[in-house]
């Protein structure tokens, strides 16, 4: 097993990765902006509170005092239930409030609020501090007013925002991932279409691919088309060569055989006639061998890329029987057919199945005695069975499994012309179609029964 690299998967993962990155960025930005806004709200209230306190500072006879305004602290309860601390420092001394509340450093003296997040009594607090200059006892003294608040409401807001941001981020990611899936799918759809277009073709269809091709695939398609045209040329040459070879070999053989027949008729002495018959037999044998070898090569070639045409096996067997009926008649053999009265559909290569059936039937007729019947049946069970039964000599008890091997013949057929390839061809055709060839003695007496089983 080699791990195949899938463009679709890579494209999908890359897009999903980008989506994840964007989702994360989106999440972080959303959270940061929202938290900043929430923090800003708290800062605003803190600074308002500190300013309100600072504005209430007043100078009295013995220094500076403060009438803490009710709203200065109550406004801090408007957002949540956070703990509140404050401290007023006048001239370096704590006037009122929590004297251990730390103050931010570098407080601007112009009255602008300064914010900081500090630790106080085991909690993080947000501190706002404003500074005022107050005239007291004839001199100017400085007052710092700090208001602090814990950040629980902020944390709750932050949790809520994080939850929303997470939801939005995850939702965005899921949506983007689905879109990535769709994008990867649709981007590769032309490839699928092309694959389908090429796969749909029969084994002999080597026309150029003309499917609507995206620009990126044009070089590939061009290369494929060029390859196919070369292949087509090569195949045509091969076919022509085979045809030419057959013609070259068979035509002289035909001439010789015909001349031999003529000679046979003219001769009168039985021994001369017998010699001629031997010669004709030899010619037939070589011609048949050559023919079946070519057939076998063709079967192997076609089985590699099997056609899947819809065939009617009833019609197919009928044609095969008709084809061989004249040959059978010569010996007063009758081909009896037993077929369903409806078409039996099978998807396969008609030429190969015809060849297999003709080989089986030809064998049956060859080995049948004169005046006997050959039964051809088509039955539908778990499998489709094309069966040919003859009343010939059978297989003489030999191991029938060997008969489908190349050039293996029965032990009792020496007097009959044959190459031993007939059943091999039938067997290979059956296998190519996912079926099998069964060879058995005729169950109803003398003879052989050869069956081609095909899956339904």
């Amino acid at each position: 097993m080699t791990a195949r690299r899938s463009i679709r998967r890579r494209l999908f993962f890359q897009l999903a990765g980008v989506a994840a990155l964007l989702s994360l960025t989106f999440f972080l930005v959303l959270r940061s902006v929202a938290e900043r806004a929430a923090e800003g709200t708290q800062d605003g209230i803190l600074s308002a509170s500190a300013t309100a306190m600072a504005d209430s500072l007043r100078s009295v006879a013995d220094g500076v005092t403060l009438d803490l305004p009710y709203s200065a602290l109550s406004m801090l309860g408007s957002v949540g239930q956070d703990r509140v601390f404050y401290r007023v420092v006048v001239d370096g001394q704590t006037l009122t409030g929590y004297d251990d509340l730390p103050l931010p450093s570098d407080i601007p003296s112009n009255g602008e609020p300064k914010f900081d997040t500090l630790a106080f009594r085991g909690d993080k607090v947000r501190v706002a501090v404003v500074s005022r200059t107050i005239g007291s006892l004839g001199s100017l003294i400085r007052a710092d007013v700090a208001v602090a608040q814990t950040r629980e409401a902020l944390a709750a807001t932050s949790r809520r925002i994080t939850a929303i941001a997470t939801g939005v981020g995850v939702g965005f990611f899921v949506l983007a991932t689905l879109l990535s899936l769709w994008a990867a799918q649709s981007a590769l759809a032309p490839i699928d279409r092309m694959t389908a277009a090429v796969t749909r073709r029969g084994p002999k269809d080597l026309r150029p691919v003309t499917t609507d091709t995206p620009t990126e695939l044009v070089p590939l398609v061009d290369a494929l088309n060029s390859f196919m045209s070369r292949l087509r040329a090569s195949l045509l040459r091969t076919e022509d060569f085979i045809a030419e070879a057959a013609h070259r070999v068979r035509t002289p053989l035909a001439t010789v055989r015909t001349q031999a027949e003529v000679t046979h008729h003219k001769l009168t002495k039985p021994e001369h006639k017998a010699a001629i018959r031997e010669m004709i037999r030899a010619i037939d044998e070589s011609a048949r061998s050559a023919g079946q070898m070519l057939d076998h090569a063709m079967v192997t070639f076609r089985a590699d890329s099997l056609a899947k045409d819809a065939l009617d096996l009833v019609q197919l067997t009928t044609e095969a029987c008709n084809r061989l009926a004249p040959t059978a008649e010569l010996k007063d053999n009758t081909i009896l057919r037993s077929q369903p009265d409806h078409p039996v559909t099978f998807h396969g290569d008609g030429i190969l199945l015809q060849a297999a059936l003709l080989n089986i039937l030809d064998n049956a007729i060859k080995y049948s005695p004169a005046d006997s019947d050959v039964f051809v049946s088509v039955t539908e069970g778990d499998e489709i069975c094309l069966s040919v039964t003859d009343a010939g000599r059978g297989f003489g008890g030999v191991d029938v499994s060997r008969l489908t091997q190349r050039y293996q013949r029965g032990t009792n057929v020496g007097d009959i012309v044959g190459s031993g390839l007939g059943l091999t061809i039938a067997d290979e055709v059956a296998r190519a179609h996912g079926g099998r060839l069964a060879i058995a003695e005729n169950p109803k007496g003398q003879g052989a029964c050869v069956s081609l089983f095909l899956p339904r």
């Binding site: 013995d62 709203s71 239930q81």
Partner: protein
């Protein structure tokens, strides 16, 4: 330097860390067998709270209760300054309880079963309110025939001004310097109405008597020593009125501050689970009319608040801390004294 000295002086006067806090009473409610002990520091009178403790023990057998009673300020001193060890603190001073929580002296009980109580009935899941008690005007039957009692503060001021001889030395209110509850009510009054300062001036001219506790005021009104007492805890008054002591209770119609009795678990608590059980028990007070009747403590009742809009529940929040500010408190007390003690 002078300012700092002043501030330090005020702080030390307020918190008094030198001496231990003052206990008014201490009652033990044993359990047999006692598996654990719940130590409660409370400002609520024994008579009011005992039925609740007994009912609690019935619901949770095996918990012995050590019930210590102190004033609101003493309670604050004990927990805020002295680190006294108690499992539960129950106080009628919402502001002090709020300050305890704000300053980090309370434990959070986030799983508290608040039942049907409104959200405003607790603060930070640390301070849990379980009663609503209005501050009322209590008048004596000897001075006021039925239906003649004043109904608003302005009525009251007019009445007192109109007949100073009749009321001279016969009016009473809290000495807010010593009573946390009195201080809370006074500060809330000062926020709600300018009539409060006028009332204080009038009462000052009439040489009002100052009290530490509602119980004493009710006692003096019922005995005819006082014609009326202002800002009395309504629940106590109702309990006394039920005994037929010759007093009338007036919930003033311009407004009436409603205090909520609250419980919190101090950080010093050693028996937190039982304290939490007690808080859940108190939160469910509204479902026990028998206890409400027995204790005289009114459970939180939103319907009543909706029906009488003059009732103004004091809200939790940092605002309650304002009048606890040292300077603010000092200024407020000075104003109050200036109103009451006119030289």
């Amino acid at each position: 330097m002078r300012l700092a000295f002043l501030a330090a002086l005020i702080w030390s006067c307020l918190s008094l860390p030198i001496r231990a806090f003052e206990v008014e009473d201490r009652v033990l409610y044993p359990a047999s067998p006692a598996i654990s002990e719940l130590r409660i520091l409370s400002t609520t009178d024994r008579a009011a709270f005992e039925p609740i403790i007994l009912a609690f023990q019935a619901a949770h057998p095996g918990i012995a209760v050590d019930y210590t009673i102190a004033s609101t300020t003493e309670l604050m001193t004990a927990l805020h300054d002295e680190g006294a060890v108690f499992d539960l603190a129950i106080s009628s001073a919402m502001d002090l309880q709020t300050k305890l929580a704000n300053d980090g002296f309370a434990l959070t009980y986030s799983a508290a079963n608040t039942g049907a109580l409104p959200d405003w009935a607790n603060w930070r899941k640390q301070v849990f309110a379980f009663t609503q008690e209005p501050a009322v005007l209590v008048v004596s039957d000897r001075f006021f025939a039925s239906g003649t009692a004043p109904r608003t503060r302005d009525d009251l001021i007019d009445l007192l001004r109109a007949d100073p001889d009749r009321f001279q030395g016969r009016v009473g209110t809290y000495d807010i310097r010593n009573s946390g509850f009195g201080y809370l009510m006074a500060t809330q009054d000062s926020r709600n109405s300018q009539a409060f300062w006028r009332l204080m001036e009038v009462m000052g001219r009439l040489e009002a008597k100052l009290y530490c506790c509602s119980g004493d005021m009710i006692r003096d009104v019922s005995s005819g020593e006082l014609a009326l007492a202002y800002n009395v805890l309504g629940t106590y008054a109702a309990a006394q009125q039920a005994l037929g002591v010759g007093i009338q209770i007036v919930v003033l119609e311009d407004y009436a501050n409603v205090m909520m009795r609250t419980a919190l678990i101090p950080v010093t608590a050693r028996n937190v689970p039982d304290a939490q059980k007690m808080i859940d028990f108190l939160n469910a007070l509204g479902t026990r009319p028998d206890l409400v009747a027995a204790s005289g403590l009114a459970a939180i009742d939103q319907t009543a608040l909706r029906e009488n809009t003059a009732l103004r529940p004091i809200r939790f929040g940092p605002g309650l801390l304002v009048f606890l500010d040292q300077l603010r408190r000092k200024n407020f007390l000075r104003n109050w004294q200036n109103s009451l003690f006119q030289e």
